[in-house]
């Protein structure tokens, strides 16, 4: 009975949706259709990025304009490591984890003690400094040309076949998503949600808000960096663009589109965002206009994002009980 209760507590709409999505992504590889696999890969990478971003934004309630920094750190870690130290994409991607951890802690120490508004500005400032450094430190980073020739075929793994790389990404995607799902269900998930709900109360329960914010930032930073690392291997090239602040704002937009107070909101947002940007590319000149209009519409009318909209629809038809999607 007890085990059954535990199990039931772990299962909700999110995990079912997640498993279905992972299955669907797996199936896409069987079509062998290059373009679908291309889009799916980008969805996975940006899904990871947005889900990582939302740990800080949706859970802990901290708005970061500097997540391009973490994505960039991941991307450049894998590039520098595979080109200079050890030629293997898997080891390279894994190498980005400790680097991202270290970066997150340093960023946290610099930004987390000064309140939310200053956090937003400081993260923006740090990512601008990082971006400038990538351009100026030409001997190390290749300047604005970036680094090319990041290997897909390495000493340990060979990801040069598209399907193999696809599965490689899928494994990371599935592991990270299931990890975040477990986090959401764990005590840390609860603490992070409490942080976003009423952080001023937590010290009187004996919690240090700085420590909790640091945990949120570290998880967020590492997950975002993993997205960057996969991105670098996928394109075999990195340029400073990935650390530019507008790039770092994309996961924010994705979170808002999908619904930042829903566990899967950022992922849903990434699916919409990537699908639109890759298929409607010929509308590129109107992209900023469309995006701006969409954002205004979201903020004014659908602040819960797409999932919030669906939830209110479901509520109207008394289906609310079947949709336990909030985190």
């Amino acid at each position: 009975m007890y085990m059954l209760r535990r199990l039931r507590a772990l299962i909700d709409g999110n995990i079912i949706a997640l498993l279905l999505l992972i299955g669907l992504l797996g199936l896409i590889s069987f079509t062998g259709h290059r373009f679908y696999m291309y889009i799916a890969t980008l969805i996975m990478i940006f899904g990871i990025f947005a889900m990582g971003y939302n740990i800080l934004f949706g859970y802990a309630g901290l708005l970061s304009f500097g997540h391009g920094l973490f994505f960039g750190v991941g991307a450049y870690s894998v590039a520098l490591f595979t080109l200079n130290v050890y030629r293997d994409p898997l080891v390279g991607v894994l190498f980005s984890i400790p680097i991202a951890l270290l970066t997150s802690i340093i960023v946290g120490i610099l930004t987390l003690k000064h309140g939310r508004v200053y956090f937003a500005i400081l993260t923006l400032a740090l990512s601008m400094i990082f971006w400038s450094a990538l351009i100026k430190l030409r001997w190390l980073t290749g300047g604005s040309d970036g680094l090319v020739g990041i290997p897909k075929r390495g000493v340990l793994v060979d990801l040069s076949a598209p399907t193999v790389f696809y599965y490689f990404t899928l494994v990371f995607f599935a592991a990270i998503m299931l990890g975040l799902y477990m986090l959401n269900k764990s005590r840390y998930g609860l603490l992070l949600r409490a942080l976003g709900t009423n952080e001023d109360r937590l010290p009187f329960l004996g919690y240090s808000t700085f420590t909790l914010r640091m945990i949120a930032l570290t998880i967020s930073g590492v997950v975002s960096a993993l997205a960057g690392a996969l991105y670098a291997v996928f394109y075999s090239v990195v340029t400073p663009d990935v650390a530019y602040w507008t790039f770092g704002a994309e996961p924010l937009v994705m979170s808002l589109i999908g619904g930042s107070s829903y566990f899967l909101g950022p992922l849903v947002g990434a699916i919409i965002f990537v699908s639109l940007t890759t298929t409607v590319a010929r509308f590129a000149e109107y992209w900023m206009l469309l995006l701006g209009a969409a954002l205004i519409a979201m903020i004014l009318f659908f602040r819960g994002g797409l999932l919030g909209f669906l939830e209110s629809l479901a509520g109207r038809f008394k289906l609310g009980v079947y949709l336990r999607w909030r985190f």
Binding site: L190, A194, N198, R201, P203, F204, G206, S208
Partner: protein, 231 residues
Amino acid sequence: MEILRVENITKRFGRFVAVDNVSFTISKGETVAIIGPNGAGKTTLVNVITKKLEPDGGRVFFDGIDITRLPPQKISRLGLIRTFQVVNLFPVLKVRENLALAGLRAGTTGEVESVAEILGIKRYLDKRLVEVPLGVQKLVELGISLLLKPKMLILDEPVAGLGAEDRFNMVKVLLELKKSLNLIVIEHDMDVVFTLVDRIIVMDKGRIIADGKPENIRENKLVKEIYLGGE
């Protein structure tokens, strides 16, 4: 044996002195009420003691430790727990999750159900805090405090805004609690105060104007004038 010593605490807001050179000592086992008219500085005093606010002067000792410079989370971990006058919890989280936050911190997760049982809020455990009545929210505040295993509990107006029945429940619980921990209540309801405490500290305009046994306070002329007024 003393548990709390407040020495010359002063708190200003700009030029306004909200707490003016307040000192007192509370012994282990004592149950104390702090009363006084609106704006007397009661909440501000508690805010300074628990470091919601920084004092402008003075020192606070709890259980033999100088806590004047400690951050609120350290004070909380020493066992000095407070509640807030206006319910200050986690509205979108379930009642159970609100309680679990305290349980996780103090290693008392296993007691969440039994505390909810004692407080009579078990049937609300799986509702979000915003969905339950104010009386229940106040009991959740109390439940959180209990799960933190306090040595001293400061309650800022525990029955304010409650109906007769909730009020009765709360007092019943507090009467039981005062046996096992040091209770300080800030309260306007004199029935509650006289039922509950062994000692009353009266504040007015930031100062302590009387401090003594309930029966003496009831007879104190100054107090009658300033506070009990009409009665």
